[in-house]
Symmetry: C2
Subunit: 323 residues, 2 copies
Amino acid sequence: MSTRENNLYIGIILEGAKIRTALIDSTGNVLLEQTDPTSQRKTEELTSQLIELIQTFKQRAPQYGQLVAAGVGVPGLINLKTHKIEVLPNLPQISTTTLCDDIMQATGMQVIFDNDANLGAYGEWQCGVAQGYQNVIYVTIGTGIGSGIILDGQMWRGTTGFAGELGHTTINVDGIECACGNIGCLETVASGPNIVRRMQQRLYRDRTSSLTRFFMPRDREMTHEDIVQAAISGDELAQVVFERTGHYLGIALGGLINLLNPEMVIFGGSIMAVGNILLKPIIAETKQRAFGPCFDNCQIVAAQLGPLSGVIGAAILARDSFK
Amino acid sequence: MSTRENNLYIGIILEGAKIRTALIDSTGNVLLEQTDPTSQRKTEELTSQLIELIQTFKQRAPQYGQLVAAGVGVPGLINLKTHKIEVLPNLPQISTTTLCDDIMQATGMQVIFDNDANLGAYGEWQCGVAQGYQNVIYVTIGTGIGSGIILDGQMWRGTTGFAGELGHTTINVDGIECACGNIGCLETVASGPNIVRRMQQRLYRDRTSSLTRFFMPRDREMTHEDIVQAAISGDELAQVVFERTGHYLGIALGGLINLLNPEMVIFGGSIMAVGNILLKPIIAETKQRAFGPCFDNCQIVAAQLGPLSGVIGAAILARDSFK
């Protein structure tokens, strides 16, 4: 292992609104980290931004060790056979793209691409709360809702690489339209932007919340981070909104546990900064909906690596893919 | 292989209302088959019935070859570690039981127990439509709705053996109570008894159906087989009820395909005698709800072995378990 000790890896997670980049050593320690807004408008802009980030980290790496490879996570479907991104539901303007090839060519680096939630799962499994477990599902809640599935000690990516789209489970047959084209997906009520949407609607009835400063006239657009902070600070309406979000997530999780009988489900992503305010109602609803023996054999926990599950997973997958 | 050529196996599937038993050779051919009503009232009665069935088939086997072992499928959760049945949602009076041990002791046979849907999946995978496939989900629709999952060329039974309970996915948050304790499960609208329930309710409004003979005054209780036959014979109301059933199944299937990205989903069980009248609306609804790339990479088909998927799977699993 001594040859690997100084090896470094770049982990990048393309979230809906921002890009998180980190320089990580071979045991998962984060040496450098930065977050930037995503260039969302055009594929070329996003490609340039990703190339630039890799080049920047490449220049900064030598003082820490030997940079070997990079891992990049994107919020969408990556075809395992063609290595192309097929769908990015929350970045539709960047849906058809030669992103992967262009980045590898321009940087001259070994780069592996995967779904962002798969990488979050990989990070928690290799370096976080799921170390030593065999059957784990990691659910990330941010701009979208995705999941990464580990079964029998292996990532389950599906026949063509598309597995894990838990956010696009129908939980309300007659619900609202989803960016994926379906109606009533879990994501339409429980993702970051939809938590904001629901909160804005509740404000019309309840003006006692600390968040009314985002009602008309607004001082700026509300973000899901604002609601997370308000809930943590004791804002009752924000807590109610998360309780109902947990109810929705628990409905989907009950079905998931009945279907796959995992030993652990991990919740991560930026929304999980709210912690038990969301986790407890998730667990309560899941208990109502899953078979007792399935529920009793499954731990439901928060990500140990917090918002870094994905970047650490991306770097560690790069470590394990390019030896 | 010549030593295996004359080997025989008993396959038994305990359905909600009946038990199907078959004598099967090592390549999956059915030599003898019979169906009996289930002794549902007491655990002891059911145990005696299963023991008697095995003894009867044991006596009849020698004229065909050498009886080696039996496989028994039950509609519930079997703990992989303890080999005990933990839950039989549709036979609650037989929920806690020493069934497995009692049968093995009384018959002196090698008997393997598994979930009925797992065995249907195994049958179709080894001897039916899914031969040669790696990622397959078999869904059985009868008294209940279960599924068997094959991933990467292996049965996925879950951490403790409970995986595959697709029938207990919530598809209507505010739906009706399910025998499993949840609300709005797929099974509450799309299983055999619930198709009967829905049909009986529709009859109140539409008296043109051939099934009105089951309305007051009834000549006997309606069964799902009656509705299957009516639909096949062109009864419009029966066809409408199956179209709506397909809508419900497609909602769950869309989520399942998004989550697991299988290459094939097979529909079997007694309800599937209705064929395309149900399969077509399932496919249509799934297409509306799944990601295009997930849907396009997944065949949705009817079971090739029809109502025999389970018994053949049970026998073939016994073949593969006791060598």
